[in-house]
């Protein structure tokens, strides 16, 4: 049976992690490779880097971080932020990323998603959607961190992007992001039920029950969180235990790693 994925997200700026694990034992907590290793050992199912580098001049620092991470961590890595061209995606994949996440560029030029999927395959194209409630039961797609409205209905947009070739939708509620009040479950469920591809719920996780609700009530295939893991409030294992208790199928990576060592 396919397991529900738990995905920690790291904010990376100029090749350095600015929002990540706040563990004192790390030699260099700003090094994406060290952070990735922590999550690898902890049994995370995938990892996402969100590049928030302001200047495109510093893009090389991101590629270097991805390259060094891929050399040491053998788990799926998605990179988003500033992905605007087919060449950007190619550079990320060659550096070692498995998926590229497209956000603003998809809104600016929707054909870009189809072009990217045709070139690299849907499996590595994620479309990130930032949605904000504009009326009861209605959500609009926003860009630029929730400042710019697009006029697109979030559910229609998700369906359109899946049709264009997105292999996955990363759905963030701008109303909930950073609030710790939990996912926007109504939004998540509407989108997840409307598209044939997996939906990753994001934005608002403050407790472990929130993660479970994203799946049981929001129908998400995967859940993404940042701060609850980075600050050591909860571990990946605790999150998975709570999800399992809610009847959600999860992977116990730690048990497998242990039994693998015994076999070796």
């Amino acid at each position: 049976m396919l397991k529900v994925r738990l995905i920690p997200c790291l904010d990376v700026k100029d090749g350095r992690v600015v929002k990540g694990v706040n563990f004192t034992h790390l030699v260099d907590a700003g090094d994406p490779v060290e952070q990735a290793r922590v999550y690898d050992l902890a049994g995370a199912d995938e990892l996402t880097f969100l590049d928030i580098t302001a200047s495109s001049d510093n893009r090389a620092t991101l590629y270097d971080a991805v390259r060094r991470t891929a050399e040491q961590v053998f788990m799926p890595l998605t990179v988003g932020g500033g992905v605007r061209t087919v060449e950007d995606i190619r550079t990320l994949l060659l550096a070692g990323a498995d998926k590229a996440s497209i956000n603003t560029a998809a809104v600016a030029r929707p054909e870009f998603v189809a072009e990217a999927a045709e070139r690299f395959g849907s499996q590595c194209i994620v479309v990130a959607i930032d949605a904000k409630s504009v009326a009861p039961g209605r959500w609009e797609v926003f860009t630029h961190g929730g400042r710019t409205g697009t006029g697109y209905d979030a559910i229609d947009w998700a369906a359109r992007m899946a049709h264009a070739g997105a292999g996955e939708i990363l759905l963030t509620s701008m109303d909930r992001d950073g609030t710790k009040a939990g996912f926007d479950l109504a939004l998540t469920r509407k989108v997840a039920d409307a598209v044939p591809v997996p939906v990753i719920a994001s934005g608002g996780v403050g407790t472990l029950d929130h993660l479970a609700e994203g799946v049981t009530e929001g129908h998400a295939s995967a859940v993404l969180a940042a701060s609850i893991f980075h600050f050591g409030i909860f571990t990946i294992a605790e999150a998975k235990a709570r999800m399992a208790a809610a009847g959600i199928p999860v992977r116990d990576a730690l048990r497998e790693a242990r039994s693998g060592e015994e076999a070796a």
Binding site: L2, R67, M75, G121, Q123, S221, A253, A257, G260
Partner: protein, 215 residues
Amino acid sequence: METVAIVDCGSGNLKSAAKAFERAAAEAVRGFTVTVTADPEIVRRADRVALPGQGAFAAVLAGVAAVPGMREALEEVAIERARPFFGICVGMQLMATRGLEHGEHIGFGWIPGEVIPLTPSDAALKVPHMGWNDLEIDRPDHPVMRGVKSGDHAYFVHSYRFICANAADAVAHADYGGPVVAVIGRDNLIGTQFHPEKSQAVGLALISAFLDWRP
């Protein structure tokens, strides 16, 4: 020193596959040189070959065809010389007789079978089949499976699946609204539908066993 050629036909992310093979090679008792290459001469003479593939069946096939002499080099090393060959994802699917993704395409024909769309019996199951699924080992005696057991998880990303004409060629399967072949094996050929290079300890165990394999 044995040579391992990771075939580069312009498809997908070779970096992680190469790094995973390098890691497994570094931990092996015997010495290995892992090379990512688009040179048919290197592939032809390699002791072991891996063919990673991502994207559409026809696109990966076209990538192989676009390198003059590559198709022949693969045939020589994997079939005539019978060196251990590892196909990953679409690289595994190419071993089929034919693929039915966006039209009908003739595969390598090394392992009789077809590659057909994934249609889970449960309509709630999404396509692509993306994420960690547990393996059910059908041939636990296969040497490449020595470090992997039923219940272990591997990372899948695919929308098409391999149907083996001979049941004995299916080494392991996963369940996704019905059985989905996860590992195929015949003689010196092995292939995984999932990505061992993304499957953490389970994937590395499989690659290590492949490097030790003497079919």
